[in-house]
Symmetry: C2
Subunit: 259 residues, 2 copies
């Protein structure tokens, strides 16, 4: 609708949707799956190294999300565009939606964004992704299933020069119940697990949960895995094997409560 | 996306969007604006009288919403399809989304809806409307404006045989602040105003607010006007003239707080 507001409009960049089993009660989301910067944005002025750094995407997160979705029998919805073009886990009025700086990197193509350009990116990247995710969730609800929503992220082991010791963070928004159950299920594994680390809702990182899960009262959690632990296909498989039973155990309790 | 689930798919029924001024900070929504039942649904088996009764739409609400939007300088988003096909103010898993009965009326075309048909209506009516409304709201946010969301409804003066004396109801979801300010501004007018009448959030009537306003922390309220007070074009104009200054006063306080 707002395309009329701007002359910067570009083709919509839809989400990638990998359908789960018909009766699936789990939707896995990966907002930072891709480091692709479509040609219209001219690499955002970044060099090749910056374009594949952790600022452009969450390395390993998509492969892990796919490994988890397969093991859990979940639907998977993942982004097709770099978070530097539009960070799908941020509201259009959040400075981090189209950041001029990310960690120690300047993003030249985001240094001075006009209102028309902000609207165009909201229209062509943010809205199509969330419409597609909404379609999957509403589709589950129409089938009589209240799905659990799990977002999958990775974080860099060194941030602003500080080493992070947490390996697996579980973050919640208003409803902490599923996140608490995941942490409880992971305690006793060999993973260094922590609640609301390395970020929390106070950092504005739970937008997708707030937009897509909370309005329907759906159980939800955001997972953050340190990216050095999922740096190769073998490491991803190993991590998916470790996390899948933890998630299955935690989710089962909530499906039982819903029924 | 979920169209693949079903062979019942129909063309999407988009929302009608009437653009406001570029800097507008108000979005008015009318989910029950229309009594149109598209031919594919064969009148839902209803006779002509039932098809224009208050169960099919909110009589007068669209004209009032248009009168208010014009006076307030607001954007307006309104439905193109009857609430009996899909009640846009209900989640897809709510029994009232495609009701088999409404007040004293049976709805034959909703008596026995398959899961495929529930999915098809969710896909073709619910999702397009809320995507269009989301587009307007996200467009405002991308422009740096946090809009106030006002939904406009009407209610029948006699419900299940009981006469309702309230004339103007103001309903809130989690954040009551704007609703309280509207009630305060209306007190002293000649209108019989009441908070959370004739319905409240506990009746499940705040879905649109919860889906579209709360995730962004936007101030919001649902207005309910008794439909015998807006039964003619002259009555609608009169009511719009009475309500516009009340809303302007209440909203101004919140825009001041935001700024």
């Amino acid at each position: 609708m707002t395309a009329k507001d701007t002359n910067h409009s570009t083709a919509p960049f839809r989400a990638n949707v990998e359908a789960g089993p018909p009766a699936s009660g789990i939707v896995v989301v990966c907002e930072h799956a891709s480091h692709v910067i479509p040609p219209v944005w001219h690499d955002l002025g970044l060099d090749a190294a910056a374009r594949v750094a952790h600022i452009a995407w969450d390395p390993g997160a998509l492969a892990l999300a796919q490994g988890l979705a397969r093991r859990l029998g979940a639907w998977l919805v993942h982004a097709s565009v770099s978070r530097l073009v539009y960070d799908l886990n941020r509201s259009p009025d959040h400075p981090g939606a189209m950041p001029a700086q990310s960690e120690v990197y300047d993003i030249p193509g985001n240094a001075c964004i006009s209102l028309a350009e902000r609207s165009a990116r909201t229209q062509s990247v943010y809205l199509p992704f969330h419409a597609d995710l909404h379609g999957v969730i509403a589709g589950r609800l129409a089938q009589g299933t209240a799905p659990v929503i799990i977002t999958v992220h990775s974080f860099t082991p060194v941030f602003h020069g500080t080493r992070r010791t947490v390996e697996f963070g579980v973050i919640h928004d208003a409803d902490p119940t599923l996140a608490l159950d995941i942490v409880a299920a992971a305690t006793g594994s060999n993973l260094n697990v922590a609640l609301n680390q390395p970020y929390s809702a106070a950092d504005g990182v739970t937008h997708t949960l707030r937009l897509q899960a909370t309005p329907y009262g759906l159980k939800n959690a955001m997972l953050e895995v340190r990216n050095d632990l999922i740096a190769t296909p073998e490491a991803v498989e190993s991590m998916a094997n470790r996390l899948a039973p933890i998630l299955t155990h935690a989710i089962a309790a909530h499906h039982a409560e819903v029924a």
